[in-house]
Assembly symmetry: C2
Homo-oligomer: 196 residues x 2
């Protein structure tokens, strides 16, 4: 009943994360009502896939090489913050607290999903450390099972290289409520307590 081009557009939109069948249909019909947006979006998709690639140094998504972060001489090349993906990098950049460089793994170790060390961009990280400039590696993977396993793996791998290894602090989130913090979070907050 529905014309094939609409069905096809709906099916593809439905493959996006978090977009269900009904939402996909709504989006498809909206795009048909706003052909200018549909046209711009098609062009932007083409541009992005064509021009965006990984920075050969930090493996972040970029349209130049090295990326603007790696090319920025004002940033401290001696400190490298290792993150799981580009959204994590963006989140840390928004804090304006970090003026070092990054390394993007593009994933975490997850044996069940078939993601081993070779699937992550660890080789490039090793090359950077062996380059000699790096003095500290901050492990900023997520504080969940896979993120912890990845941080542990990297710790064992990098420790022998004589580089300083740190892990981002875990504890009760700011503005949070002790009462509602999870048991594990509260335990970490106690273990990681600091002198005042």
């Amino acid at each position: 009943m529905t014309p094939e081009p609409i069905t096809r557009l709906t099916v593809l939109l439905g493959r996006l994360p978090g977009i269900g069948e009904k939402t996909a249909q709504r989006l498809a019909l909206h795009l048909l009502r706003t052909p200018e947006l549909a046209h711009d979006l098609a062009a932007a998709l083409g541009q992005a896939t064509e021009r965006i690639h990984l920075c050969t140094r930090c493996c972040n998504l970029t349209d130049r090489d090295p990326c603007t972060l790696c090319a920025d001489e004002r940033r401290d090349a001696r400190v490298v913050c290792v993150v799981e993906g580009p959204p994590d990098l963006m989140a840390i950049e928004r804090t304006r607290e970090f003026r070092g460089r990054y390394h993007v793994l593009h994933g975490v170790l997850s044996p069940l999903d078939g993601v081993g060390p070779d699937e992550l961009h660890i080789r490039e990280l090793l090359a950077r450390i062996n380059g000699g400039e790096v003095q500290e590696v901050i492990l900023a993977t997520d504080p969940d099972v896979e993120g912890e396993a990845t941080a542990l793996y990297l710790t064992r791998l990098l420790k022998p290289l004589g580089v300083r290894l740190t892990r981002i602090a875990q504890g009760v989130p700011l503005g949070g409520d002790l009462e509602f913090a999870s048991q594990a979070t509260l335990a970490q907050a106690l273990i990681g307590r600091r002198e005042v």
Copy 2:
């Protein structure tokens, strides 16, 4: 900091209804990780905007003319169901209860938004009725203020043409709970009560 092609893609995705800034960023990064989906989506957007247009009879979205619904000789051309938009038509089709034809207004009367009768596809509906084949017009606009106003406007416009005019029934939804039905819904359910 974020490369321009990613920013542009994110901004455009954020213009879609129900897609906020964070979701748009997540979708953009997902599309960059799945270039095949990005490529197919760009192509589907181009195809859809190029090939989809309004059926000259019923004004539904279609890639042929007349659309498959209007071209289907097994459907009763004497009964025309008037709906606000393509999603409403699809919803009614899914019930498999209706074997007549449709007419898609592509909106509702909404003076505050600058939508008057000329912005809706009412002229095409009049042409169909004047063609002589139509015997009943079912007004299936939404049971909200604009939908009711549009149904009332169409009633006044079409009544003099001698065509039978009906409005879809309003009452408590199936599987619903009387206790939680709105006052207005319950009032309509009482007013529209039927002999058993």
